[in-house]
Symmetry: C2
Subunit: 254 residues, 2 copies
């Protein structure tokens, strides 16, 4: 399948590299930034352009791995004829692509991706949606090159997944960052927390998180919680978080 890839960020880079390693063929990269587009094109061994007027018109799939805000602008400029246009965003409806082609869909890999970190997509859920079953089948064939977990879900479900992902990934990572700063304040190494971080994530691969909650809040240990709040007195924002989440945990386990 001949693909034009739009975007040069985390999603475009990791998807592009993974697809290029399989039988899919990225024929062109589009990016606004010349340097970034050339870098990614180099990695993929294909051509690139910074002009929407120079998009390859013979590809079979136009894959938009651009920011949410850019999706419609880019889609409207593609000389797609009636070829397949697909976006990769968690929170953008399928329907936004309907003005631009009679063939369109969504391919959303539910994972945190980084340009600088290799991605193994094999266990990553690929959430697909398309305007008809033929296009869905095409996307399924493509996604199955990369992953064993390909699912078909609605735009509403995808939005919900994305919201959940903010809690279990973005907010969680922020808490790792707070942990790093807390130990750093007493000259302790963040490395001490790493086995705990990993085990906490491994535990819920097998158990429901609701059933394995530990810590002072679920035990109702007011003495420890009060001391922790006091220790956070120089960080009123973390103090507020600590109090709010502890209450939340307590209420959730009553």
């Amino acid at each position: 399948m001949r693909i034009v890839l739009f975007g040069t960020g985390n999603m475009a880079t990791r998807l592009g590299i993974a697809l290029q390693a399989k039988t899919a063929e990225i024929v062109q990269v589009y990016g606004r930034n010349d340097y970034k587009a050339s870098l990614l094109a180099d990695r993929l061994g294909c051509t690139y352009t910074t002009s929407l007027k120079e998009i390859n018109t013979t590809a079979e799939l136009y894959l938009l791995a651009v920011s949410d805000e850019a999706i419609t602008a880019v889609a409207s400029s593609i000389p797609a004829g009636n070829r397949l246009i697909v976006h990769t965003a968690g929170s953008v409806d399928l329907a936004v692509l309907s003005p631009f082609s009679i063939n369109y869909g969504v391919l959303y890999p539910l994972q945190t991706l980084s340009i600088s970190r290799e991605a193994d997509f094999k266990q990553v859920p690929f959430c697909l949606e398309a305007n008809n079953s033929t296009n869905l089948k095409k996307l399924k064939n493509l996604a199955e090159l990369l992953s064993e977990k390909v699912v078909s879900i609605s735009s509403e479900q995808r939005r919900q997944l994305h919201l959940a992902a903010v809690f279990v990934c973005n907010f969680v990572n922020h808490f790792y960052a707070i942990g790093e700063r807390i130990v750093g304040e007493k000259q302790l190494d963040f490395g001490l927390l790493k086995p705990l971080i990993l085990e906490t994530a491994l535990k819920v691969q097998e158990h429901s998180p609701q059933t394995v909650q530990t810590g002072p809040a679920v035990r109702g240990n007011r003495t420890i919680m009060d001391r922790h709040l006091k220790m956070l007195s120089e960080h009123p924002d973390w103090q507020e978080l600590y109090a709010l989440i502890s209450d939340n945990i307590k209420n959730n386990h009553q």
Copy 2:
């Protein structure tokens, strides 16, 4: 080293099983609850008692893996003579043991432990403290039976580590639980989030969390954040958390 183990919870169970598998010898378990004490004694192949008056008086180490509140009460009842008394708590000072023996210390494995889940202590930091170097050396020898990461830290540092652990483990697990409920509301399986949860934890094994923050808050994507807040309208507590943490992330990355 002949040990009397106090407690029958997560810490006592996992430490007891791990030590018994090595050359340490648990000779007796103490627990208030007859059934729980007998269960653990069975697993360890040793005797048990529910009476502090029946504690074995010939052990070399009295290991208190009981709740924070119970530490001094139990310690005061041990016929320890001048034998080594050690607690395993993150937020309890070494000094609380000083009235009960001239030999005392702390052995704190920084990990989330469950009775029902096997623990591999090899990579787990064992944080030690003792009232003198002889006792510290004894604890070091014991801890090194189980782990490659044995460190000596102060009570103040241990308290700080425990506070950080609440953020990176207890609060994180609560967010996994929120994620589970969010996807469940749209008939989606929590399994879809598991690869994301694992990758988020794996990523910070190699990178500083501060440098790999992703999501709408760090990108300043107000449209998505407003929509997410709206989607949470039936959960005002999660809505409040979402707004607070997003602000926090934004401020942290300005």
